[in-house]
């Protein structure tokens, strides 16, 4: 859990972050959303003390971050950034093991952890552990970057536009992986982005930021349906609002049980936007739905999407 209490950061006269308060409950995926210069990265970087707040206080897991040495604090908090920053002279294994090594883990435990993380990111351990960063694609580098952030099993993970520099297809895959990893590991994540679609897809809570303050803090659906201010409604965009609404709802919200339809079933957690896309492509208004085990459990119809 992260509690930010009335934090201010000034650069000269300008308040980059202005008396900002935010509580991120344990296990939440909180996205700080805003255009560049709104203070979202500064806020993130104050959590692991890369930037010192001028006033206010921040607590991580109930402990004031100024009460522990900065290095000890950072080793407890995962950190992944847009430029990735893999150490080019170290192998994938050494990169991932950075923090566990700082924490003086046993060699065998360290190796097992690297294997476990590479598997979590679907990178074949024996192929990848000995590679150098320049031998990886951009998407693989970012996977290793996030794996490195998760290596010492931190309670909190901070991510600063981690997927902004990769191509759209890779970004899509990385977002899906991050969503899965969040479900599987239940970390508290604070994620900075300017990409509304990314925020809608990943967040449990979105904090829309503007001029150093939070304009609205709410789950994705509420941000879309009830924007708290003109700024928020402009930022999330009135255009394509319907599609954005579909993208935050899942089949499980709307499906009919006890019916059946022909064709390949879609999983329960498919977004309604993706469902609409599949319907259009298959020229049908009814699709079967399956659960995680692949068993058909019901049907989703075009009419359900606009209900």
């Amino acid at each position: 859990m992260i509690e930010i209490d009335s934090v201010t950061k000034r650069y000269g006269e300008r308040r980059v972050v202005d008396r900002l308060s935010l509580t991120v409950p344990a296990g939440d995926f909180c996205v700080l959303l805003g255009s560049s210069g709104c203070g979202k990265s500064t806020t993130l970087r104050m959590i692991n003390r890369l930037i010192a707040a001028d006033s206010g206080s921040i607590r991580v897991a109930g402990e004031d971050i100024r009460s522990v040495p900065a290095e000890a604090l950072r080793r407890r908090i995962g950190y992944a950034i847009q430029s990735i920053g893999l150490f080019p002279h170290w192998t994938v294994e050494d990169n991932i093991a950075t923090v566990p090594r700082l924490l003086k883990w046993q060699q065998s435990r360290l190796r097992d952890r690297v294997t476990e993380l590479l598997e979590l990111f679907r990178l074949e351990p024996e192929t990848y552990r000995g590679k150098y960063p320049h031998q990886l694609s951009g998407g693989e580098q970012q996977r290793v970057g996030v794996a490195r952030a998760l290596a010492a099993d931190p309670e909190v993970l901070l991510m600063d536009e981690p997927f902004a520099a990769v191509d759209p297809i890779t970004r899509d895959a990385l977002q899906a992986e991050l969503a899965r990893i969040h479900r599987e590991t239940i970390k508290t994540i604070v994620f900075v982005t300017h990409d509304i679609e990314e925020a809608l897809r990943l967040a449990t809570q979105i904090a829309v930021m503007h001029e150093g303050r939070i304009e609205q803090l709410a789950p994705p659906l509420e941000i879309l349906e009830h924007p708290a201010s003109d700024f928020v409604s402009d930022f999330v965009g009135r255009q394509g609002l319907g599609l954005k609404l579909l993208s935050v709802r899942k089949i499980s919200d709307r499906m009919r049980t006890g019916e059946n339809a022909e064709g390949d079933p879609l999983p329960l957690d498919t977004s309604l936007r993706e469902t609409l896309s599949v319907m259009t492509a298959r020229r049908t208004d009814r699709l079967p739905v399956c659960n995680a085990e692949g068993r058909k459990v019901g049907v989703i119809a075009l009419a359900d999407l606009v209900r």
Binding site: I81, S83, G85, P88, P133
Partner: protein, 254 residues
Amino acid sequence: MRGSSVLASPLLWVSLFFAVLLLRMDELRPVLHWAFPGVEPVIYQRSSFFALFLSHLGLVAAASVAAILAGVSLAAFVTRPAGRDFRAMVNVVATVGQTFPPAAVLAIAVPIVGFGPRPTIIALFLYGLLPIIENTIAGLEGVPRGVREAAEGLGLSPWQQLRDVDLPLAAPVMLSGIRVSVTIAIGTATIGSTVGALTLGTPIFNGLVGNKLPFVLEGAVLVALFAIVTDMLFARLERWLRWEAKQVISGTDR
């Protein structure tokens, strides 16, 4: 394949030539007699060339090790947040050290530390500092920003950032500076002979004073070969380091 590349390398042949001249200069006696009739002795005799070489090597090594330690430490210091304010000053001091003629340093140092190897080491140290400082700063500043931010954000202490990330990544550029510094020091060390240090410059000055041209030639050729061999060794080390570093820098600098 590997064997033939070693045989084809100029480094091997130049080193061999240098070693043979150093140990068997006597064999050239007939040639020198023919070239410089009437000069006796025609080969410098007061000490062996090998002994002069060892003393020369010792002076250069002492000064260069000191210059590397001081230069790298200063460069590391002024590129840390705490030392940033001193950067301009360190640059000025190093530049003055380089522009101040080594002969003048000797003239000032001798009254203070006396004759012998010590004033020479001081002059070489000051003279060699600038290229090391400059290149180390350039190398450290060339470390990609994202890499530095990741190192700090993951919880490496400032010392760990320097030792494990910044210095290894700066190494190829640093090495270029060390190469320049050491090569210049080998040539410059000869003037130490004017204040009582034993170097391969000793026969040169002896020959100049006693009007014995062969001595000058013998010393000069050996010093030149010494510098060339050293430079080639560094070139090889540099190529190896850059090769290691090449796989390294590309692909992460985004």
